[in-house]
């Protein structure tokens, strides 16, 4: 068991961090050029030269493109209608049709955004040729703070570290108590003079240490393998993690006091964990959730910890910036732990 506890998180960190990405690297595109002029071929050339696109089909018949979308060999098709060049020359709007496979909604939105950007570039080129002195009325420049390259790893890795710590805290400690119930060892323990809080402390401390140890390994991997910046104080991360662990362990222990088998405990823990993870803002921004769901995050410890750890690692936030969520976590932790000590019964 001991090697497993240590190997699995590292593997998880390596796999998830490399695999889970919001970038779309090769959009399979089908082009239907019904105009077949210099202007239309130039637009197609823009897609061809983009590293994000992989042209999988070119045909004069848009049914071919539609067929490829249907059988999944293309993600997206663009259709240039006859008269494209003529319309441009006359200064009239020229029409381009974009059809996107939206089975995966977020991917479809991203692909659409890329495509619109390429067509936008093309538009600007045309404008510059037609009236060189016109230019754009508003010139945009932007910069992304705290993650200048918008590197998804910088964004994901701290979140995955949170997940590791959470799973260890919530599962191992809670499961351990239920296991004693299943094996019957708890019956022997309950007849001894050991006090409830002593027993619970005995269940918490080892996993608390293991989880912090794993966080250390995770941070090391994040720094060495992914070169994730750690701008803030590492010690502060551990302080937050220590407090946070009491919350998740408390939840795990509380579940274990309500259940009698590892199966029941596993089921409830997963149920709670999946909801917390999906709502935490790890994979999707919490800001885009409906208001009531954002309000629910008040009781979501993972949401607190993810936002705190990103603030410390990427923004270099200090203790003052994270004071409020940290106090909330501390209060949360003592509430849940007291609840599970109270709920734990030495009788059956």
């Amino acid at each position: 068991m001991l090697p497993i506890i240590f190997i699995i998180p590292i593997v998880q960190l390596l796999i998830l961090s490399y695999a889970v990405t919001f970038e779309i690297k090769s959009i399979r595109l089908s082009i239907t050029d019904n105009d077949n002029t210099v202007a239309s071929r130039r637009l197609a050339g823009h897609f061809r030269s983009s590293p994000f696109y992989n042209i999988v089909g070119e045909s004069a018949d848009q049914r071919d493109g539609a067929e490829m979308l249907h059988n999944g060999s293309a993600h997206q098709m663009i259709v240039l209608l006859p008269g494209f060049e003529k319309a441009l020359a006359k200064g009239q709007p020229a029409h381009v049709q974009i059809v996107t496979d939206a089975i995966n909604g977020s991917a479809a939105a991203l692909m659409n955004a890329y495509t619109l950007q390429i067509i936008g570039d093309y538009n600007r080129e045309i404008l510059a040729e037609v009236s060189p002195q016109a230019g754009m009325p508003v010139k945009l420049t932007w910069s992304y703070w705290f993650n200048p390259q918008l590197d998804y790893k910088t964004y994901m890795v701290p979140g995955i570290l949170v997940l590791l710590v959470t799973i260890i805290g919530m599962f191992l400690s809670g499961m351990n108590v239920v296991r004693e119930k299943e094996l019957g060892t708890i019956e022997q323990i309950n007849v001894t003079p050991i006090r409830k809080h002593q027993f619970i402390a005995g269940k918490l401390i080892p996993f608390w240490i293991i989880a912090l140890f794993e966080l250390a390994i995770g941070l090391l991997v994040a720094r060495l393998v992914f070169s994730i910046p750690i701008l803030g104080n590492i010690f502060l991360i551990f302080v937050v993690a220590s407090v946070y662990l009491f919350v998740v362990m408390g939840i795990g222990l509380f579940i274990s006091t309500l259940t009698n088998t590892q199966q029941q405990s596993m089921f409830i823990s997963w149920f709670v964990l999946v909801i917390f993870i999906l709502m935490s803002g790890l994979f999707t921004p919490a800001e885009s959730m409906p208001q009531w769901a954002q309000n629910l995050n008040i009781i979501n410890p993972i949401a607190y910890f993810i936002s705190i750890i990103r603030m410390i690692m990427l923004k270099g936030s200090g203790i003052h910036d994270i004071m409020i969520p940290l106090i909330i976590l501390a209060g949360y932790g003592s509430a849940v732990l007291s609840l599970s000590v109270w709920r734990y019964r030495k009788t059956i």
């Binding site: 019957g184 060892t185 022997q188 007849v191 009788t347 059956i348």
Partner: protein, 308 residues
């Protein structure tokens, strides 16, 4: 009162609609081995869980060494030694670690109380570094007993300690219990084995959450109201259905390869049974009058209970 170690009165416990204990009362004197004898489901484990403060009774009350099992549970846990029916030590700790762990919880000094467990622990000491889960059944049981004794309990409560243990280990185990009794420890033991009843100072026969009878094994046997005969034959089943048709017979039960027949009145004797069998062309059998054992008594009480 000072001679009483364990006292229970009107103990009731229900699990939903199942009545596990239906108002049990009993007395255990200090320094005796008291056996609760009964089949699975008789309520022995429920009773022991109440006495060990693990379970709250629905009605009635009980005291152990003068301490109430509900109100004084904290003190009771320091003076009880409990061995649950299922092996309940940590399988992934070694023999030695388990002993140290339980001594630690009770804040007991192993060397100070070692004399209590010496006879028992010496037998498993060669395997001190072995994990408890890897021990054989008999050794697990010795370890469990050692751990239950290491804090020098005043009362030892053993729930089916010999279930699933071979005959030799069972005998050894009872020898250990008798030695512990001589140290002044009161021992409550639950067992489904009728032959172990004889080894107890006093017993209570349990069935369906009731105590049907209690007393010394001799008293219980002496209270058996019938003449009893044992018949041996190689056609046991035919014999059994035949003999049950005889008048003047109270009951006929299989006992291993034999049939125990109890007479419903003093008039039925060897000769009457022999005549009956022969008149039904049954010739090959050995018939003798015997004195009853605890099991005969148990079955008799059981039938009386069912009848009423």
């Amino acid at each position: 009162m000072s001679d009483i170690s364990v006292y229970g009165e009107g103990l009731v416990k229900n699990y939903g609609k199942t009545e596990a204990l239906r108002g049990i009362s009993f007395l255990v004197n200090k320094g005796e081995i008291f056996g609760f004898i009964g089949p699975d489901g008789a309520g022995k484990t429920t009773l022991f869980r109440i006495l060990t403060t693990l379970l709250l009774p629905d009605a009635g009350h009980a005291t152990v060494e003068g301490f109430h099992v509900v109100k004084d549970f904290r003190h009771l846990r320091t003076i009880l030694g409990y061995m649950p029916g299922r092996f309940s030590l940590y399988q992934d700790l070694t023999v030695e670690e388990n002993l140290k762990f339980f001594a630690g919880i009770f804040k007991a000094d192993i060397s100070e109380n070692y004399y209590l467990i010496k006879d028992i622990y010496d037998q498993i000491a060669p395997f001190a570094k072995r994990r408890a889960g890897k021990l054989s059944g008999g050794m697990k049981q010795k370890l469990a007993l050692s751990c239950a004794l290491i804090h020098k309990p005043e009362v030892l409560i053993l729930d089916e300690p010999t279930t699933g243990v071979d005959a030799v280990s069972r005998r050894e185990f009872w020898e250990m219990l008798i030695r512990l009794k001589n140290q002044g420890i009161t021992i409550l033991v639950a067992t489904p084995y009728m032959d172990e009843a004889i080894l107890c100072d006093r017993v209570a026969l349990m069935q369906h959450g009731n105590i049907m009878a209690s007393g010394t094994p001799d008293q219980i046997i002496a209270s058996y109201p019938h003449r009893l005969f044992s018949i041996k034959s190689d056609q046991t089943l035919e014999l059994l259905s035949l003999i049950r048709q005889m008048t003047g017979i109270h009951s006929a039960e299989m006992f291993g390869g034999n049939i125990h027949v109890s007479a419903s009145n003093a008039l039925t004797g060897i000769k009457e049974i022999e005549d009956f069998l022969r008149s039904h062309d049954f010739r090959h059998f050995e018939l003798e009058e015997i004195s009853p054992g605890i099991e005969d008594c148990f079955i008799d009480f059981m039938k009386m209970n069912q009848a009423s």
